[in-house]
Symmetry: C2
């Protein structure tokens, strides 16, 4: 991760901290590598934009070959639709009440829209919201493959898809999220196998009601290298675009493939054994633990031991301490909660010479 | 906390979830009660706006009698200065490099500006940034009173204030943050005593270099009821405006004094023993633990057991489960990280009849 420090040294005079820095060359390599992996496996890529929430990055993913984008809520989908993205899957079990129902209907008028559903009541609410335009909304049934979060049992997929069809909605297929693949390096392949097995059951269940799915959609950065096209048609990785320490620990990326860090300044050195950085939970989230810390200084073994809102506590062994004013690159454990804290990214490349600023367009659009 | 559910029931058709809801009457009571407490003790109130980041709420705090506001970084101060606030204390050990130094200078031209400093290097950097206008910037020396975060030893306050004076800056006084008062109900009074003892030492240290402080500034919502005006001149509470479960556990507020919750919808009921709410770390932060959970359903003993980015896991005992589509009020453990996730507050009162939207003006302004 020393390239992070090198890039930072080159641009430190031009930025105020804390600031999230993207190395665009590393990010582009991540995008291209994921696309090449999917191409080899005969799978479509539909990247999850929740990780970056940035129109410019979404455009680069499409340019590399992505078939469309995945969003986590209606607000994200609206921001990207307004920017011209015309093939959006909200991979979330939406509840279409009140004005949210109207927003979904309006979105479906301007873009090809797929949304998740895992229960019959939600399907009826979506159909009610669409009124006479149900045929404009594609339903992708969510099934659980072992993450035990949302998703119907795989064998119930056909029943739910048939319910959508009866209400005039378009049953487009099934999706699942193998979240249990993040439990450890050895969990990744097992979760991918669970995912495939569950999707096979779901596809059979769809066949039993006469539905051939147009899409069979799978996660995720940690499991994607084990996905095959036996039934899966597309993958929805998100974190791969930036990567982070959690993915490096899982073996889902190398440390050199981490494309985002947060630049932070040492602001206080008054308490022995530590320094304070200007990076707290409002900049990097509270992702981590006392064991692994809450973010690491790139190229070192030092980790943030504790966070307040605007203060990061960095313990220092053996009396070594960076001087007040030193700017260091902090690599997050989990990158997704970082980006929502900032107005914009500082974008450079490994040499640190260029500097652009890209808006975090969909930050704050949570509902 | 049943009033939260009642207010929510009255406005549920008019909002999309997740959304942060303020009960303006409860909030106003909190503002007035804090002001009355300070008035009784002969202390000024300088509320910390990091908690709400909202100009309208800052105005209400001033109207109730606050002498000015406290900010956590330059960006927050800029947003409030632009909105007309003219007495701002950035209670943070600022490092005034590059463009941040220029921003501090510009801010000091338009508002009465106090900033924190806890080391000589930072004082020199501030003076350098101010160039010939050092006299426009007031320095408040930060001392540590036991939180072991930032802050010089109390006896060093005079030396630092003298260094500021030598550079033409205005040594306005001292401040400290008794963060160790949040360790438990019994820690509050002890931390307040530590705070007072440390400030007495600091004031003596200032006297030794011939400086009579204009301000001796103390925290914080959990400790404020134990503050006296023996040396302290002002208090900087932040969380009291909304309150939260952590403050209720500490005994620093009652549950009925909690003025903010996040409305969330049950979106999935497919995994036995739990339901999923549309509230994850990107809405409520990861504040809590497996013991206390990550947020509570108001008026019940149910707590979120686990969070993903857009999913909250709510375990349900004995087979009881709210139906999909049910909207519930989720009370955060720690309110400050919630507000930065949203564009705007939904503002109502306990009856839930009115509905306004107030911008979270300073969200994202982190540096």
């Amino acid at each position: 991760m020393n390239r992070l420090q090198q890039a930072l040294d080159a641009l430190v005079e031009r930025i105020d901290t804390p600031a999230p820095i993207i190395l665009a060359d590393v990010m582009q390599d991540n995008i291209d590598r994921m696309q090449a992996l999917a191409d080899r496996q005969g799978l479509d890529v539909r990247p999850h934009v929740k990780t970056h929430k940035c129109v410019e990055i979404g455009r680069r993913q499409l340019k590399a070959g992505a078939v469309g984008i995945t969003a986590g809520n209606v607000g994200e989908a609206e921001v990207f639709a307004k920017a011209g993205f015309d093939d959006i899957f909200i991979a979330y079990p939406l509840w279409a009440a009140g004005t949210k129902g109207q927003r979904i209907r309006k979105l479906a008028e301007t873009t090809r829209l797929r949304v998740g559903a895992d229960n019959v009541a939600a399907i009826h609410a979506l159909a009610d919201a669409m009124e006479d335009d149900a045929g404009q909304l594609e339903i992708v049934v969510e099934i659980d493959c072992g993450a035990r979060r949302s998703g119907a049992p795989p064998a119930a997929a056909g029943e739910l898809a048939a319910a959508a069809r009866r209400r005039g909605l378009v049953p487009a297929g099934v999706f699942t999220y193998p979240g249990h693949g993040s439990a450890g390096p050895e969990a990744r392949e097992r979760a991918a196998k669970d995912q495939e097995a569950a999707l096979i059951v779901a596809v059979r269940s769809l066949a039993a009601v006469g539905i051939t799915p147009e899409v069979v959609s799978a996660g995720s950065t940690p499991t994607v290298e084990f996905a095959t096209n036996s039934v899966i048609t597309e993958i929805r990785p998100g974190e791969y675009v930036f990567n982070d320490l959690n993915n490096a620990r899982l073996g889902a990326c190398t440390q050199d493939q981490i494309a985002l860090f947060v630049a932070a300044t040492v602001v206080s050195d008054q308490v022995p054994g530590q320094v304070i950085l200007d990076i707290g939970t409002k900049a990097i989230g509270r992702e981590g633990s006392s064991e692994i810390g809450f973010g690491a200084i790139a190229g070192t073994s030092a980790v943030l031991a504790k966070l307040n809102e605007y203060h990061g506590f960095l313990p220092l062994p053996g009396g070594v301490r960076p001087r007040v004013g030193t700017v260091v690159p902090v690599v997050p454990n989990h990158v997704c909660p970082v980006v929502v804290n900032f107005e914009e990214y500082v974008v450079t490349e490994s040499s640190g010479t260029s500097l652009e600023r890209w808006a975090v367009d969909a930050r704050g659009f949570l509902n």
